[in-house]
């Protein structure tokens, strides 16, 4: 694993980056439009976002070669915000999301990624896949068989064209094919133009038109916080995937900051908040992209194509986009987790399923992640809260050896394992096989000692390790009597 200089990260792989950037731009267009439609905004909002995010990240990101743009994960979070309050609030929320992410980056919170268990990460991507899939179902309502056939043709083309050549993204080929067929046959089906307008202009700087009040902040803050978390989660997961597939390392805190800066700029240029994209980053790597230049080229070329080809873009039928989104959902899902669900510990499987269910019910990826983290913490606590007490009798004295972690969750069980009316003079409580973690544990040991004392026994506590002794010393005299 090596980290290259900033200059190298720009110009170390110029030819590969230029070509892969072009490929990624082509692959980004249908997704940016489709994610805008999921969010309920004009396609331009997603396209501007993809342009500004990809360009900004190329300068300030921490993972060269990774592609960031408008994403489904983020779009799913702000559907309600757009529906209830409109586009201006979304732009403001995007800016606030960016500010939160910059703060996360400055506080170096990336290292706390280790607190997110594997099963929650898997639940996150699976839930994302399911939501992207279900978001497409509305496009099938009240449609004719022509639309269904076109979706099937799109999918067939996406999955089969790679056998002909892999030089052009098969999603693009599918979209061009289906659009051309629709125009030639004059099918009467919904197209991108029916979902919103495409303006062939560059984005301009504007300040969201919202009242700058506390009430506004209260509306956008919950969304911004959820967006910040979801965005960083997917970005850092994607960064790890790019690290792994290129055998290079990346600066995760710089990436968090970079994502934040990109979202702030995007909000001011009329785009929706975005994050890194797993699928597009893999396309970039496979097409030879490694450096920052690939992301810059992708953003600039995407904008160029929209300005030049906007008239054609509005004629893309929704059937083609729905097909692309189904492919995105299928490739996002971690199928390996289904194959191995009977092999992983049952609690891990439960956490994964609960994470998915929470997201599907609340439509909020951030809530699902928290539910998953809390549930796995509870499982963990209950697993390590098992304590064992061994009893050893020796001429007039009893020695109790406690094995396990002593803390709030394990003390109740511990207290039940002692008998206080024993027929001996002296009792020894040996803690060398255990660790005292908190005040509940100190109080519990205190209580055991005082119970024996009130029964007229002599009590010795032995085998405290260093940390535990320190804690007992700090707390023993201050918690009062029991």
């Amino acid at each position: 694993m090596s980290q290259s200089t900033y200059r190298e990260s720009w110009f170390g792989n110029m030819k590969g980056d230029l070509l892969s950037g072009l490929v990624v731009a082509l692959a980004l267009i249908p997704e940016a439009i489709a994610f805008s439609i999921i969010a309920g905004v004009d396609p331009m909002v997603g396209l501007y976002a993809s342009f500004t995010i990809a360009v900004t990240i190329s300068f300030v990101g921490g993972r060269p070669g990774m592609i960031s743009a408008a994403t489904g994960a983020m779009a799913l979070v702000f559907i309600d915000l757009v529906a209830n309050h409109g586009l201006q609030y979304l732009l403001a929320a995007s800016i606030l999301t960016g500010i939160i992410q910059v703060i996360f980056g400055l506080l170096k919170l990336a290292r706390y990624m280790k607190f997110i268990p594997r099963s929650v990460m898997v639940g996150f991507v699976n839930a994302l896949a399911i939501l992207i899939f279900t978001s497409q179902l509305e496009h099938f309502v009240d449609e004719t068989w022509v639309m269904y056939v076109l979706v099937v043709v799109t999918l067939a083309c996406i999955y089969l064209f790679p056998y002909v050549t892999k030089a052009v993204p098969s999603t693009l080929v599918a979209i061009v094919l289906v659009t051309v067929v629709t125009i030639m046959m004059d099918f009467d089906i919904r197209a991108v133009g029916d979902m919103g307008t495409i303006s062939q202009t560059l984005p301009i700087f504007l300040i969201p038109k919202i009242p700058l009040t506390l009430e506004t902040l209260m509306i956008i803050f919950p969304y911004a916080l959820a967006l910040a978390i979801v965005g960083l989660l997917e970005s850092l997961l994607t960064a790890s995937i790019v690290d792994d597939s290129t055998e290079t390392s990346s600066d995760k805190n710089r990436e968090s900051r970079g994502q934040g800066i990109a979202n702030i700029i995007t909000g001011f240029f009329g785009g929706m908040a975005g994050c890194a994209m797993i699928g597009q980053s893999i396309i970039n790597i496979k097409s030879g992209g490694r450096g920052r230049l690939s992301s810059l080229v992708a953003g600039v070329f995407l904008m160029f194509l929209i300005v030049v080809l906007g008239d054609i873009v509005i004629q893309i039928p929704m059937a083609a986009l729905a097909g692309v989104m189904i492919m995105v959902a299928v490739s996002t899902f971690d199928w390996n987790s289904i194959r191995t669900i009977h092999l992983v510990p049952r609690t891990d499987a439960a956490v994964m399923v609960i994470t998915v269910l929470t997201v599907v019910l609340t439509h909020n990826l951030a809530i699902g992640v928290f539910a998953g983290i809390i549930l796995s913490s509870i499982f963990f606590v209950s697993k390590i809260s098992r304590v064992r007490v061994e009893e050893e009798r020796k001429e007039g004295r009893i020695r109790y050896s406690i094995y396990g972690e002593l803390f709030f969750a394990s003390v109740t069980e511990l207290l039940d394992q002692f008998q206080y009316d024993v027929d001996v003079e002296e009792v020894e409580i040996n803690l060398s096989g255990s660790h005292i973690w908190d005040d509940s544990a100190v109080a519990a040991v205190d209580k055991i000692v005082s119970n024996y004392k009130s029964n007229g026994k002599k009590v010795n506590v032995t085998g405290l390790n260093e940390d535990s002794t320190e804690l007992v010393g700090k707390l023993a005299n201050k918690l009062g009597s029991h």
Partner: protein, 139 residues
């Protein structure tokens, strides 16, 4: 007669049998060199990273995949080297074999992913078609 031997492996049962054959061939000629190649498919990077989310190093599990093959080679006292490559398995193996002028490529007839093989045709078939040297496909 075969000095530079390339063994492509993915940790499957078939590739273990291929390893046994590769070792036998390596033993036939003095000073032969067996290179064990394991290809990391970029398409599978996502599931690999998710599977080893907390593992210290994803590559450890990849080394596990070839450890069985290494053991076979070590037990037989054959000169060997392990190499991890990245990309799409078929083309990467072909390119590596041709560029480094191997005398023979040895590969198992089918890998871990049965469905993909059914749709795409097998990696071994691609290698057999495009490598410039003899290819031994082990059933």
């Amino acid at each position: 007669m075969y000095q530079k031997i390339l063994l492509a492996t993915d940790g499957s049962q078939h590739s273990k049998r291929a390893a046994e054959n590769a070792v036998n061939i390596a033993k036939c000629s003095e000073g032969s060199m067996l290179e064990v190649v394991y290809v990391v498919d970029v398409e599978r990077a996502k599931s690999d990273v998710l599977t080893h989310w907390h593992a210290v190093d994803v590559n450890d599990s990849r080394k596990d995949q070839v450890s069985e093959v290494e053991r076979i080679a070590k037990d037989a006292g054959v000169n060997y080297e392990v190499k991890v490559l990245r990309g799409e398995p078929g083309p990467v193996i072909v390119k590596y074999a041709n560029e480094n002028q191997f005398d023979i490529v040895i590969i198992g007839s089918r890998g871990l992913n049965g469905l993909q093989e059914f749709v795409l045709g097998s990696v071994s078939h691609k290698v057999a078609k495009r490598a410039n040297c003899p290819v031994l496909i082990v059933k």
